[in-house]
């Protein structure tokens, strides 16, 4: 899914929502899924350095 266009991301989220919650609920969620896809797409565009590791928020 990652690396797709906004539309591909939306379709992938909707497919998964149908599988998990059924068609009716997926339809209800559609506007929120589109918004989510937009945010995930934005995240995909972030040019992260290859060496950048995930944040570790648990301090020793």
């Amino acid at each position: 899914m990652a690396g797709g266009t906004k539309e591909e991301l939306t379709n992938a989220l909707v497919r998964q929502a149908v599988e998990l919650f059924g068609q009716e609920r997926a339809n209800e969620l559609r506007p929120s899924l589109e918004k989510r896809a937009e945010q995930l797409w934005l995240l995909d565009q972030a040019l992260l350095d290859r060496d950048e590791e995930p944040a570790v928020m648990f301090f020793p």
Partner: protein, 455 residues
């Protein structure tokens, strides 16, 4: 008697220690205010009237026999209803926890009690500290949201029904309600206050926080609450400075980094004008103001925060949600469902972006004492079905750095404005000293028009 509830915690604690004020009288005043005001405010989820009075009597005796237990001896406080309190219902604003009575208290609650604070009860919050609103109303205008998730705490402190509250922030859960209600809201660094014994929203974001009537009171409470807890793996072992001493010891004007980009694009006109006035006032009082760019695209930071909070919240609720989906409110249900479909790769990318954001932010913060922005894009919006916009507060929770709301005025309709200051990681002492200086320079003292009772 009315003046008792208008003093700050620091001044009140001094009067109690010197024997000029009885903790029992003080608790009675707070309980009377709750009884009179809370039917309309609904800031309190549970009030432990008998236990609070018993504790006050015991503390009065203890003071006579052995002296003060700690810096909050006899001070009435509230605890957000996500912190475990032994023997007292902890419902997190949810039907799922309506009968939950913990057997032990959260470490932070114990710290308050060990310092002599009197827990009056639990303050109302949004469902599981997410987005379905609490029943609380804004004391400045009952038809406007008090914000969330720490809705009850902000209203309780604003209405002078207690002096300090213990809270949590995952996005803007302390600073936004603090701004909407005209009180000080402090979110220290991630890991500064123990979360052992709290009901989580998102483990890697949840941060213990404080609401109070003044910066000094927030510093006093942080001194009691901060510190390492071996029971909480996110808890920091860094030493706890003398926060109150630091803020009293500083008198030179601070250097502030004003961030307009993103904030001025989204704030309404009156908030932009108000922030300009605040900045000019601080400048004329001697502060050095530098215009600064956000260290990262804050829209991207918002997207990353949502990926993290949705995923972690869905993981926490997975089992219960499968068994009792009908017992979740519509907003939390949707949040969990969106978390369930968030790809693991997006979650990891969000955490990688978080690391980069934190590093860039460190560079910005090394040049100033604090960043300065409006706390919210508008004053408290009308209506009670939403809790307001979290976008202005959320980036700093994501970075794990401390942030504070300083009340900075009222709009024409009588609703509070708040100004947000952001400090470097674990430099709460410097941030509090800066906020204290700004508070003095702004000289704003806000009390909501509640049709005041005579106590």
């Amino acid at each position: 008697m009315k003046e008792l509830s208008y003093l700050g915690a620091a001044e009140t604690a001094t009067r109690i220690r010197s024997g000029r004020l009885s903790p029992v009288d003080l608790v009675e005043v707070c309980l009377q205010r709750i009884e009179t005001l809370d039917d309309k405010l609904r800031a309190w989820a549970t009030v432990s009237k008998r236990a609070a009075l018993d504790t006050a009597r015991a503390l009065e005796r203890e003071l006579e026999e052995r002296g003060p237990r700690g810096p909050l001896h006899g001070i009435p406080v509230g605890v957000k209803d996500v912190y475990y309190t032994a023997g007292v219902k902890t419902s997190a604003g949810s039907k799922l926890c309506e009968d939950f009575v913990p057997e032990y208290s959260a470490t932070a609650v114990r710290h308050l009690e060990e310092a002599g604070a009197i827990v009056l009860g639990k303050t109302a919050c949004t469902e599981f500290a997410a987005n379905d609103p609490a029943p609380t109303r804004n004391p400045w205008n009952l038809d406007h949201t008090p914000g969330g998730s720490s809705s009850g705490s902000a209203a309780a402190v604003a209405a002078r029904t207690c002096f300090v509250t213990l809270d949590t922030q995952t996005a803007g859960d302390v600073l936004r309600p603090a701004a909407y209600n005209g009180v000080v809201g402090l979110k220290p660094s991630y890991g500064r206050i123990s979360r052992h014994g709290t009901i989580p929203v998102s483990w890697s974001l949840d941060t213990g926080g404080i609401m109070a009537r003044s910066v000094e009171d927030a510093a006093l409470a942080l001194e009691v609450l901060a510190g390492h807890d071996p029971e909480d793996q996110s808890s920091s072992s860094r030493p706890v400075p003398d926060y109150v001493g630091t803020l009293r010891g500083r008198s030179d004007p601070p250097t502030l980094g004003l961030i307009r980009r993103y904030y001025y694009d989204r704030a309404d006109e009156k908030v932009r004008e108000h922030t300009d006035r605040v900045v000019e006032l601080l400048r004329s009082a001697g502060a050095r103001i530098e215009e600064m760019e956000p260290p990262e695209d804050l829209g991207l930071v918002y997207a990353a925060h949502r990926a993290v909070v949705f995923s972690e919240c869905a993981a926490y609720h997975q089992e219960t949600f499968r068994q009792r989906p009908e017992d979740y409110g519509p907003k939390l249900r949707q949040l969990i469902e969106l978390g369930q479909v968030t790809p693991a790769v997006s979650y990891i990318q969000a955490q990688r972006l978080r690391r980069r954001f934190g590093r860039k932010l460190r560079e910005n913060l090394s040049r100033v004492d604090a960043l300065i922005t409006p706390t919210t894009p508008t004053t408290a919006p009308s209506g009670l079905s939403e809790t307001g916009d979290r976008r202005f507060q959320l980036p700093w929770t994501f970075a794990g750095v401390p942030a504070i709301n300083v009340p900075s005025g009222l709009d024409r309709s009588g609703l509070p404005y708040g100004t947000q200051l952001i400090g470097a990681l674990f430099a709460e002492d410097r941030l509090l000293a800066t906020a204290y200086w700004c508070e003095k320079a702004l000289s704003v003292d806000l009390s909501p028009p509640l049709g005041e009772p005579s106590w």
